[in-house]
Symmetry: C2
């Protein structure tokens, strides 16, 4: 039996991962077969959703991660944690608006968590949710046409910078034998259910989710802008595979790009029209925002994911199927409480 | 007139840089011509050498950088600093032996300095002494035959990890307009005068310096091991050029590899024999140390420095000239107090 910790567990991906693990009842860790989950510690600044809190295997811990992880009383019970999914983060738009928030919530909190894992001495497997925002193009150093696992990170946002720094910290803590770190770079998740968050990429969900709910949504970038996406289900697959792979299959301490579907924003709108009709697609307002467009221009649209592919992970086949998945999930009890 | 700050100013490179600046009386900054140096603030954990402290332009500030930079009283007078050379660091061997020391002295101190520059609001030019230890080879990700400015950092020491992290912090603080950061990756400096320090690469000076002084010295790696070196004078040239280049010539926020002379350790010994005779070279004891050899095996021996070359910087021509330079400098008042 194993003990699992999820940070950022009240967020959309964290709570989805928690629901998946509780429904499965087991988890595969580092090459071993399915093992029963004894305890699932869910931590976040916000209380965990009621359905998760109601499960007897769940311990909810509410607070700032930096403080919780730094607490000698070990409220996260890291001392007998086997697997930690570290998802807690301030998002890209927030970090651009509030530089100190990013340093505190992304950098300091991660350092605190890693130091606490080290102090606990249980050598846990730590899956760190990094981001495609690790990559970036600048005038002096343009992005290659396709980024790979070997493309040098060159983040052009504070969020991306903090993710890259944490990848390096995780690798060094791993090298020292304090924990077994695995960094994965998540693609932009679309369609993200619930309400908009502070991510600069939030509109990539909004322009599908809002029109499907009969509401207008704004697209701030040109239709030709290419983006690297993954559905929520594909993102969860990546998190679970990062935990389940054997050390040998994982293949080293460097970060792994998750698989991406490359699609232009215009194609996303056309897919919405094919799935839901022109009246729904017409609810997208194309209002160019130079600040958001500039941030997007630094992010890669085409990502090659050789290590993830070797691990058996695959990208979503097309954007229509992502929309259909979102509609199906929304229909089957897709209330805000299920997805937020 | 400009105000200059040097951190780590009691170290070998810092005090050498300070002597150079005081002797010149001027400094070139960001494309401008020579400007008089009004004040030179030298900070270090150790008191600055007496000859520097005696200069009326010098303000010596003794203490831990993290505390000094974090002090609201601004003992480093960052509020009107024009150029900061940030050299203070715990070295590689120390950081491997004491993980927390590295985080504190390299990571926390740099963060503190950058935050204080931001708070001071004077937008100083900050030259950060990074290291070739940013690069590394691992079994899953071997080093290329030659590393370039575009090779992805893959540090295999805590020291190198901390240097890479600080490069990213500097770039992001620069992007936000809080300061004008320029990271340069120093090569291993040889021949470093004075007494051995805790750097794992220290023997690359010791095997020359000690025999020339009639003492035995140990070489812990195989003679065939290739290393990327620069003389002290070449390292200082790089620091000064990082300050003097115009923004356009500097060419972006990414770190710049300084020029390297590639030489094998066996060739270094043969150069010593040619310069000082076989009796001197025989003072080298070849005692293989697997731990040090393993660390060296992860570091690059061949470095291409395209951006530095475009800035007019050049590598030392050969190792014999480096030895002769060391002998000449040692003879002309090369007491420990001059060089330590």
């Amino acid at each position: 039996v194993v003990n699992v910790v999820i940070t950022g567990a009240s967020g959309f991906l964290g709570s989805r991962l928690a629901r998946h693990l509780l429904a499965a009842g087991t988890i595969c860790v580092a090459g071993a077969g399915p093992t029963a989950i004894r305890r699932l510690t869910l931590t976040d600044r916000m209380p965990v959703p009621a359905d998760l809190a109601a499960d007897e295997r769940v311990s909810g811990v509410v607070g700032e991660l930096a403080a919780l992880a730094g607490d000698r009383a070990d409220p996260l019970r890291l001392a007998d944690a086997d697997v930690i999914f570290h998802l807690a983060a301030a998002v890209s738009g927030e970090c651009e608006a509030d530089f100190d928030l990013g340093l505190r919530a992304n950098l300091r909190a991660t350092e605190s968590l890693l130091q606490s894992c080290r102090a606990a001495g249980s050598n846990p497997l730590v899956v760190f949710a990094s981001s495609v925002a690790a990559f970036g193009g600048a005038p002096d150093r343009p992005l290659p046409a396709v980024v790979t696992d070997d493309t040098p990170p060159n983040p052009q946002t504070s969020y991306g910078t903090q993710k890259v720094i944490c990848e390096h910290l995780l690798a060094d803590f791993s090298r020292k034998g304090f924990l077994r770190g695995r960094s994965i770079r998540l693609m932009t998740v679309s369609v993200r259910p619930g309400t908009p968050n502070g991510a600069a990429s939030g509109f990539l969900s909004g322009i599908i989710r809002e029109p499907l709910a009969g509401q207008r949504a704004t697209c701030p970038v040109e239709p030709g802008t290419e983006v690297a996406l993954a559905s929520p289900a594909t993102a969860i697959d990546g998190l679970l595979r990062a935990a389940s792979a054997s050390d040998q299959d994982w293949g080293g301490r460097g970060p792994v790009n998750l698989p991406a579907l490359t699609v232009s924003v215009g194609e996303m709108a056309r897919a919405l029209e094919r799935v839901a009709g022109p009246a729904v697609a017409a609810l997208i307002d194309w209002v160019f925002d130079p600040a958001i467009a500039a941030m997007f221009a630094t992010w890669p649209g085409r990502v090659r994911s050789d290590r993830a592919t070797a691990l058996g992970l695959v990208a979503d086949p097309d954007f229509e199927s992502i929309i259909r998945l979102h509609i199906a999930e929304s229909a089957s009890g897709g209330s805000a409480s299920t997805f937020t």
